[in-house]
Amino acid sequence: MSVVARLEERSLRPDQELAALIEQAKGDGAVVSFAGIARPGSKEGETVYRLMLEHHPALTLQSLEEIAVEAAARFDVSHVRVVHRCGDIAAGEPIVFAAAAARHRRAAFEAADYLMDRLKTEAVFWKREVGEAGSEWIEPTEADYADRDRWG
């Protein structure tokens, strides 16, 4: 069993994270991974140039670790990996990698889904879109909170 939770200030390579997880997961039958990418457009359809992800010096990493550890405890998985960007992220760049390895696929799918529902609403970041319309703070929607609440 391994749990990885990291905060990256400069770059995130989902392909390398996935390769590392598959390497770790020898003996397992399933690896499910999710990569979140900064969208080039806002909800209103305006061009977004970048995402600024402000973080807290202590609480942000603590929140990533807590979510990853709880996913590992809740599902029948052997490895959990969460890597999150912070700082200045250009549209099209990865923001987050969340993945799980397990003996069988169902647990890995569920763990990845759970990780993202909790990261969207509980990871300690403040997100601001910067684009043609200026700058706008982005907070979770009621649908995001409802997705998280599915897990009880």
């Binding site: 807290h56 987050v96 609403t121 907070e139 979770p140």
Partner: protein
Amino acid sequence: MKVLFYGRLAEAIGPELEIDAPPGCSVGELRERLIVEHPQAERPLRSRRALACVGDSLVRDSYVLQAADRVEFLPPVSGG
């Protein structure tokens, strides 16, 4: 007492304030005072998803502040 802000609260109030809170002042009372002094930050300060922290631990509005505490107000968080 040092009070720190993040995200849209830092944008509205500034990242840090030095405040003389009276003895026995709770986090909720400090929040009300901040709303009076910084009305532009009322909405994020009153958000039911906003959090307050002392020493990197979440605290409720009833928490009574000590002079040496460093209080942090966090607007709703969002990752992913």
